[in-house]
Amino acid sequence: MTGKPEEARAFGFETRQLHAGQRPDPNTGARAVPIFQTTSYVFEDPESAAAYFNLQEYGNTYSRIMNPTVAVFEERVANLEGGAGGVAFASGIAAQAGALFTLLQPGDHVVSSAALYGGSVNQFKHMLRKMSVELTWVDPDNPDAWRAAVRPDTKAFFGETIGNPAGNVLDIETVAAIAHAHDLPLIVDNTFATPYLCRPIEWGADIVIHSATKFIGGHGTSIGGVVVEAGTFNWSNGRFPVIADPSPAYHGLQFHETFGTYGYLMKLRAETLRDLGAAMSPFNAFLFLQGLETLSLRMERHVSNALAVATFLQGHELASNVTYPGLPSSKYRPLTEKYLPLGAGAVFSFDCAGGRAGGQDLIRGVSLWSHLANVGDAKSLIIHPASTTHRQLSDDELRAAGVGPGTVRLSVGTESVEDLIWDLGQGFALVAATAAAGAGAGTEATA
């Protein structure tokens, strides 16, 4: 050991988003995180190679399983979330699959919030069912619904800090307590809040998942995801033989008994990531690290812009049902004050007057908001689900999916907020003009 001993200072979030997970490169002194664009690593000798593969020593073997650049990203997110460690994946959806596959086996059951991102719904509804895992969807706002859904074969609770796109705020502490009363872990997708706005582990969550593609990167250049685990869940409580029992996929190793705090994470990396193969590329990890350096600064601006835009919409005659949980009128206000005191994220929806046609006109009328299917970019994004992601559905089917014909989803960026509001005003002007022309001709129906 060299250097002076390090004090256990509780460094601030803004310090950690710049430094956690990285020291100056010991070989070169490089201050920035080097991009280790390598598939594999030379072993010192046969004994070292064996020790790495046996997990007896922390060593690099192959970049499908670990990579020094990706490791900086993993540790930095784990540090910001307050977890024991992290494992990065090629996408948020891959991270979610990895987190679940590590603790599930055929015949198991998962209880999930019904208010999830559509991509997650697809994964749960179709892929998990294919693996013979059953699901119960619950109203995330109803604690009794979570409690009532637990079965002897249940293995996890799943929810989003801020639901996409309805803006429901999960009562993490309450739902975690119900999960723990049944010896179950709570998994939280914290993508919309980011660790700057909410740290679910501090409220009892056991596993946190991110689509890094969104606010963590912030630049919209890279697809990636990460799983963080608290390291405190007792995987040897009898419900999780896939983690506690000797592993046939790793020469009989008992991951939780041998690695304790780090057991789930070791299994997630050494087995699930190894076998799914959805590794994050070192270059993408480097880009996500550039994003993380400014996370708090960007989120401050995202949430102040989002509140201003939501307030503008709430007062606009052509907008209704503004779902931003940061609005004083939101029914989630008490939960927002508890879990999201610095701001309620920057993604929400509202209903544009004029139904399907109104929503489309709004999109046609704006020129600064980008019309695309993503969220969490530093640039402001807009999409009309009824004519894109939910295009095949009738108006009745849309309502069943919780999406109105005129629903528009916004991801509020960090531009000058006056410009964002000006641009939405352009959109509404077109909506009004078209409606007036339509009314004059006596045709177009409204929602």
């Binding site: 050991m1 001993p5 201050r31 020790a51 997990l55 540090n79 041998t258 070791m266």
Partner: protein, 160 residues
């Protein structure tokens, strides 16, 4: 400071890791898949002299196994414990008797009476911490696997 936090001070941990040469592992298993074997193997690999203490074995990790700390014929810097918590007071008395420098109790090996006995006998006590993890955090490669080492430093260290 809670009772346990007293025994988890990072500066003390680094001093023990730094100064120790000989580590006696009480409860070291011969089974290569047990946590104690992982730790013993790792410490040996990193240059520490590891002395197994296990009355049921004669040799582990290439070293002669002793039934008790009291049987070890050489100075011991750290006594590393992998036993049930209620065995700790007895182990602590033996550690004091052989003049060990520190008593290091692994994850879950928590017994405040044992800690008190060791402290009164002049030993440094670390409790509910893993010797391998702490070494890997400050001197090893734990950061290569995405674990939260909680280290924040801009100091350039030596070659990896």
């Amino acid at each position: 400071m809670s009772d346990l936090a007293r025994y988890q001070d990072p500066l003390t941990i680094q001093r023990v890791l730094h100064s120790a040469r000989t580590i006696a592992i009480v409860g070291l298993s011969k089974n290569e898949l047990r946590a104690s074997y992982f730790v013993g193997y790792y410490l040996k690999r990193h240059g520490y002299r590891v002395i197994p203490v296990n009355p049921r074995e004669s040799e582990i990790l290439g070293g002669k196994c002793y039934a008790s700390l009291l049987d070890i014929p050489e100075p011991v810097d750290v006594v590393n414990v992998f036993r049930a918590p209620d065995a700790l007071p007895g182990i602590a008395r033996d550690a004091v008797a052989i003049g060990a420098g520190a008593l290091w109790c692994q994850f879950g090996v928590i017994n405040l009476e044992g800690a008190r006995i060791a402290e009164e006998g002049g030993l440094t006590v670390i409790m509910d911490r893993c010797l391998k993890v702490e070494h890997a955090r400050y001197a090893g490669r734990m950061h290569w696997l995405g674990f939260n080492t909680q280290r924040i430093t801009s100091v350039r260290a030596g070659l990896q």
